[in-house]
Symmetry: C2
Subunit: 343 residues, 2 copies
């Protein structure tokens, strides 16, 4: 229903060529009289002309390659965003280098009813993208089969839970290893009574980090007091609450592994409010290496995820798929420990 060049041309009583030339300002060296120009501009404005980008691209022989990144549009948990920003930046850098533009689609994760999902999925398909990157913590089991069926290239950052023979291309970090590294570091510091505040256990990342913790404890031959595993949600508030719960315990654990920096920061607050000091009274390890982790008091020991690299690799895998270049179906990145003063 949108007005086309022809509509404008008819209204201005000129040809479409003329309209095109006017609207593109001074594209060629063909001169156009001021009077005609005004008439065209006027007409274009009157019919509310908006160029059809697809047609323009086609005619101009410009290529136009887009990668669509699906990110969660979660209003509350703002603190988790540096992760996405960094991943997106990694994706964008790689894509831009190869001449692809990147579009972000914020999918509604707050109301995960199937209707909303359906709407989001439709809108995503309306985006003329060559490929799609699904970001982590996206419980999109609903999307995956359809993308597969629709034959649309995509890769997933983070992998699906029960996806043992992985049908999809993905890149992920080894969260299990991360949890183990954090715990082993605490063990090396001589701690035995090590508690953990877990992430969202419905997500593989949360689950895997917990299992890493458990594996390290078990390997050290140490028992895990049942009260030492307190569930969190990755958010600072849950870290705060979880820590208060741990502080009430007796004997009190001497060290805590928080499955996210956000929770670690919340935990710090709780510890300091209780008049205890870090790391003397309680040692603390986080996970993520958020930018602010280096600027807490004391600076936080944490497990660093190569977030930008995650994005870069996701983009590389996807572009390989899009251009039919052989590439491994999935890659798992190793996190590593950043030792600061909280342990």
């Amino acid at each position: 229903m949108a007005a086309t060049l022809r509509d404008v041309a008819q209204r201005a009583r000129v040809s479409t060529s003329t309209v095109s030339r006017v609207l593109n300002n001074i594209s060629t060296n063909i001169p156009i009289s001021d009077e005609t120009r005004q008439r065209v501009l006027q007409a274009a404005h009157e019919v509310g002309y908006k160029p059809n980008m697809a047609a323009r691209q086609l005619a101009r022989q410009q290529s136009f390659d887009l990668i669509c990144v699906i990110v969660p549009h979660a209003s509350p948990s703002v603190l988790t965003h540096p992760f996405y920003m960094s991943v997106v930046q990694g994706i964008a850098r790689t894509c831009q280098q190869q001449g692809y533009a990147v579009t972000l689609y914020f999918a509604d994760t707050n109301t995960p009813d199937s209707q909303t999902r359906e709407r989001d999925y439709g809108r995503i398909l309306d985006i003329p993208a060559n490929g799609i990157i699904l970001t982590t913590t996206f419980r999109d089991e609903q999307y995956v089969p359809r993308l597969l069926a629709d034959n649309i290239p995509f890769v997933h950052i983070g992998h699906l839970s029960g996806d043992s023979p992985p049908a999809t291309h993905f890149v992920d970090v080894d969260n299990f290893l991360g949890g183990r590294l954090a715990t082993e570091h605490l063990l090396q510091k001589g701690h035995q009574d090590i508690a953990t505040i877990t992430g969202d256990l419905t997500m593989p990342a949360g689950q895997d980090r917990l299992e890493g913790y458990q594996a390290a404890m078990q390997q050290a031959g140490l028992p895990v007091h049942p009260g030492w595993i307190v569930p969190g949600t990755f958010d600072p508030d849950s870290g705060y609450a979880g820590m208060q719960q741990l502080l009430a315990l007796s004997p009190r654990p001497t060290a805590v592994f928080a499955a996210s920096d956000a929770m670690a920061i919340g935990a710090m607050q709780a510890i300091q409010e209780a008049g205890l000091t870090i790391p003397t009274d309680i040692a603390l390890v986080g996970f993520d290496d958020l930018p602010q982790a280096a600027h807490t008091t004391p600076p936080l020991t944490t497990v660093q995820q190569p977030t930008a690299r995650l994005g870069e690799i996701a983009a590389e895998l996807l572009l390989a798929q899009v251009t039919a270049v052989p590439a491994p179906p999935h890659i798992i990145l190793q996190p590593h420990l950043i030792i600061r003063d909280s342990t």
Copy 2:
């Protein structure tokens, strides 16, 4: 040079229609023999076929509307990102609601030579966007005149320095007011010896916040000791360094207004390392209300910018422009003070 449908068709010895139908899988209910399907798939793979999205969009009569957001690709200052993330989210929400997709272009701000700029500008124009949003702290005086000349709809978040009769559409927050609010709050708390760590003074935001501080001091009839204005860069390290500089002063200021939360956090570190406490020894106000500001010890009093709103309004102004709907050329948003425990 890319392979087209016709190339595939010739290779597979079928018509383009058949190829199209195969590649779109099961689009219509027209059946295709398995043998043909295989042959087509094979051929497509061999010539490395990649669909031309523009042509597809055009033929399918799908509209395809894009808004391009230019954001700085600054490797070092990761801490400033929550701002952009929030702004982008505001933009995306609004755009998506109106059926526009959003693409991010990370422009290189690290090497601001004109060659890089030129390359970036060209690439941006290659993106088939209906309009462009330039984010703040972008010193893009180079872009603006060209966008104007090329007749491309755009709005700027934050305004250009010497742009008194504003030629461009923009949305901004009142940084001057923000600086004044912060300082006045400190004055109300009874402080007289108030120092400030400024932002990057080459940016309007940095300059305006400083002027707000100065205005408040002057209005209170208080002198500003020359050493009390220490220059920073918005980054935490500069806050740390700036604070050390202030701590060495005697008499020492009793309150500090840091022109960004990031710097405030750096300053906190310096204060606590010096064995002083906040707010008893030194009161501290930040600017931005980063997510982590609520989780520092003590929680940081700060000036909140309506970042998401900034993005929303930028998008609204742009879409109005794109669709030729009348709208004000620019809007200025009011920041407000969030009082926590650091004052």
